[in-house]
């Protein structure tokens, strides 16, 4: 039985859970409860994955920054502090949930939820392995870009509702910055989309199969020389999109105290934090799918040789998560090295340089796809 809710994801984990639930359903349970339970379970699994990624991300950030700065980072809670995120989570949960006087209470409470919901929504389109996903969205990358854009609304809401001038500044900067960089981000992603001829992340990954799992990645100049500049544009744009240094203006500590998060504390504050790491990871994963082979790696190629289905899935999952964290590490490395740019420099760079260059990349990449690629034996 196919429920309309699940028709979007016919082969997804959600529908698999649904099918399995039908087989174990006792008679007294009404039929409508089954798809509902399936969705709730799937959401639970999705949230667990996102939370784990976020926790690993915060731990990694501390360790990376620590080692860059000649210190160890957290060392006390668990081996090399690996339980630190849990300790922090417990601390943040137990903190008082404060709403400042004069704040717009409903908006203030809604904003972190909206921010987190949008990033969870975007995560739906992220396939963890070729056969393990919650929704096989044909326009996957559109879905991700659209959902992550809505975090801006949450941030602006938070900045406005806080009734603090610093928060308002942070929110306005976020709005200006994100809008300015979404344009080059989207355009830069068009280049690999053209090369792949697909919007679906799994299909994009499949397009890069072969070549020992490495040599057919889209990033290589022999696939399309316009991919490398497109990737640089993409990477700069995701730094700005995720408010990471050197584009951390919305929360610029030395200027705006904590930007749009100034008035937040406890678990609500941590929602913004989780969103940041989840978004970073998600964008890095998107980058890996469109430029660095997605599921394809020597590991996956080896696993395919064994012809064991589970092994291939695990290898693919390990590959994509590793690539995501490699991107995360790069972003952290930059954060702990570079100073912050100024708002006018951010705007100038976004509109005057990145967007035209991205457009040029699309033109060049498209022309290459039409004129050169069909004649290259290794591309087809």
């Amino acid at each position: 039985m196919v429920d309309p809710v699940l028709s979007l994801a016919a082969e997804s984990q959600t529908s698999q859970i649904n099918d399995w639930l039908w087989t174990v359903k006792p008679d007294f349970v009404p039929g409508w409860a089954v798809p509902l339970t399936a969705v709730l379970l799937a959401v639970g699994i999705a949230i667990a994955i996102v939370s784990m990624v976020t926790m690993a991300g915060t731990w990694l950030e501390r360790k990376v920054s620590g080692h860059i700065q000649c210190r160890y980072g957290p060392m006390r809670v668990g081996w090399h502090g690996w339980l630190q995120p849990i300790a922090d989570g417990v601390k943040l949960l137990l903190k008082e949930d404060m709403v400042p006087t004069g704040a717009d209470r409903p908006l203030f409470l809604l904003a972190p939820a909206l921010v987190l919901a949008s990033i969870f929504g975007a995560m739906v389109a992220f396939p963890l392995a070729p056969d393990f996903y919650f929704a096989d969205v044909d326009l996957g990358i559109f879905m991700i870009l659209a959902m992550t854009s809505t975090t801006t609304i949450g941030v602006v809401m938070a900045g406005w509702a806080s009734n603090s001038k610093w928060s308002l500044y942070g929110a306005m900067r976020e709005a200006a910055q994100v809008i300015a960089y979404e344009v080059p981000l989207g355009i830069a992603l068009l280049v690999p989309v053209m090369v792949a001829g697909e919007f679906n992340l799994i299909e994009v990954s499949n397009g890069q199969a072969g070549g020992m799992g490495v040599f057919r990645w889209y990033i290589w100049p022999w696939m399309n020389p316009f991919m490398l500049p497109a990737f640089v544009l993409f990477f700069v744009a995701i730094l700005a999109e995720t408010k990471r240094a050197p584009f951390d203006l919305p929360e610029a500590e030395s200027e705006l105290v904590a930007g749009f998060m100034t008035e937040y504390s406890g678990i609500r504050w941590s929602f913004f934090f989780m969103e940041e790491y989840a978004a970073m990871f998600l964008y890095c994963v998107v980058g890996s799918f469109f430029f660095f082979g997605g599921f394809e790696s020597p590991l996956t190629s080896l696993a395919r040789l064994t012809d064991v289905h589970v092994l291939v899935q695990v290898a693919a999952a390990v590959t994509i998560v590793t690539k995501g964290f490699a991107g995360l590490f790069l972003m952290m490395w930059l954060r702990w090295t570079l100073p912050r740019v100024r708002i006018d420099q951010v705007m100038t760079m976004g509109y005057k340089y990145l967007t035209p260059i991205a457009l040029a990349c699309v033109l060049g990449g498209g022309a290459w796809e039409v004129a050169v690629s069909p004649h290259l034996p290794w591309v087809n």
Binding site: Q69, C70, A252, S254, E255, V257, V341, Q345
Partner: protein, 402 residues
């Protein structure tokens, strides 16, 4: 600027033909005014409890007014009620990043009244300590400036070297921040065995690290873009505001008390041409911009190392404190001594009526004087630039308020 004027200003802006007719009429009813924001007293970039009242039009800072007094501890008044030597620890507390230099300034003022001769070894150790403390102070200035601009890591690197410098001071006097080591008549005690050779090791290490910091932050493209052409203080403005120290030299004015009004050993050091006085040159932007001021501090660290090396080469055994009684009775009179602190000219004006207690201890604090220029250079900059400018003045609030 009153609010009516602001309003009128914004109406003129909208009437300039920017907005379509309907919207322009709508805007006539909208009251607009600049945003007044309180930067501080609790703000990560004000380097202590200082408050800067900013008037901002969006990201544009249209006015700024520093408000002081949050760290006022009546240091000068205390000077009138404690004995001469007892006041020494209070000098540690005004510029707590350069306590050795403060000790030195006060001691020299009192010594001038007393007219005593300081043993040569004491002068050597004083110079070493003052210059090491200059390095420590500039490390903080440069590191926190990176922090203001958004680079977190260089700050911690600089703390690593500063930590060693503080450990050196801990070895010589037992304190890490408030030393009270340079006394009236000399220094409190001789350097412990091996201390001088450790200072030499510090100098060797620091030379390498210094280059690292320059490569990491000073010539970083983003850093240069953020600081060059920002907060320009022209030469004559710097002189008009009575700026001293790196703030003055950043604007290209060649004035350093160590050379121009030499005290203690600096006369001899200058004659031997041991060190140079770095000046801002507008190398990356305009003369007197934030980058120039930071550049002067960074170069001064290397020059300070040269002075320390010279002292290490020339130091000889001998007494480290002149023969002075425990309870000082200073002959009546008045004396002013200005010395080159890391932040500029630290002046001590002391008046004695011949008793055990000073009649007046007046401190000319460089941070306080340098701060005044903020109001003149901050309007018209972006909010992020305002932070860069505050950072480049390198104020220590303990000193502005005393």
């Amino acid at each position: 600027m009153t609010s009516t004027e602001t309003q009128a200003g914004s109406i003129t802006r909208t009437e300039g033909g920017v907005l379509p007719t309907g919207e322009r009429e709508f805007m006539l009813d909208v009251k607009t005014s600049d945003l007044e924001i309180n930067m501080g007293p609790q703000h990560p970039a004000t380097h202590g409890v200082m408050r800067i009242l900013c008037r901002a039009d969006g990201e544009l800072c249209t006015g700024a007014q520093p408000h002081l007094g949050y760290l006022h501890r009546c240091a000068e008044k205390i000077g009138e009620s404690v004995e001469w030597l007892q006041y020494l620890p209070y000098t540690d507390r005004y510029d707590y990043l350069a306590a050795m230099n403060n000790n030195l300034g006060y001691s020299m003022a009192v010594e001038k009244l007393m007219g005593i001769e300081i043993p040569r070894r004491a002068l050597m150790i004083r110079t070493i300590c003052a210059e090491l403390n200059r390095i420590g102070s500039h490390l903080i200035a440069f590191g926190t400036y990176g922090l203001d601009i958004g680079a977190f890591t260089p700050f911690l690197y600089m703390f690593r070297e500063r930590e060693w410098m503080m450990a050196l001071f801990e070895k010589i006097c037992g304190a890490r921040l408030t030393y009270s080591y340079i006394r009236i008549g000399g220094v409190f005690n001789d350097a412990p065995p091996g201390w001088l050779s450790e200072v030499e090791r510090f100098c060797d290490t620091f030379d390498v690290k210094w280059q690292e910091y320059v490569d990491l932050l000073m010539v970083n493209h983003i850093f240069v873009k953020r600081t060059a052409n920002v907060g320009v203080i022209p030469k004559d403005m710097a002189i008009d505001f009575g700026l001293t120290g790196p703030m003055l030299r950043g604007s290209g004015v060649d004035w350093d008390l160590r050379r121009d009004e030499p005290y203690e050993l600096y006369d001899e050091i200058c004659r031997e041409g041991v060190f140079e006085i770095p000046l801002g040159s507008g190398e990356r932007g305009t003369l007197g911009d934030c980058w120039d001021r930071v550049y002067v501090r960074v170069m001064e660290m290397r020059e300070a190392i040269k002075i320390v090396r010279w002292c290490l080469d020339n130091i000889e055994p001998g007494p480290v404190i002149a023969d002075i009684p425990k309870t000082l009775k200073i002959p009546p009179g008045e004396a002013y001594v200005g010395i080159e602190n890391p932040r500029g000219e630290l002046g001590h004006y002391v008046v004695s009526d011949g008793g055990k207690v000073a009649t007046r201890v007046r401190v000319r604090a460089p941070s306080f004087v340098n701060l005044a220029v903020l109001e003149a250079i901050m309007p018209g900059t972006l909010l992020a630039d305002a932070i860069a400018i505050i950072g480049s003045t390198d104020i220590v609030v303990g000193e502005t308020d005393r």
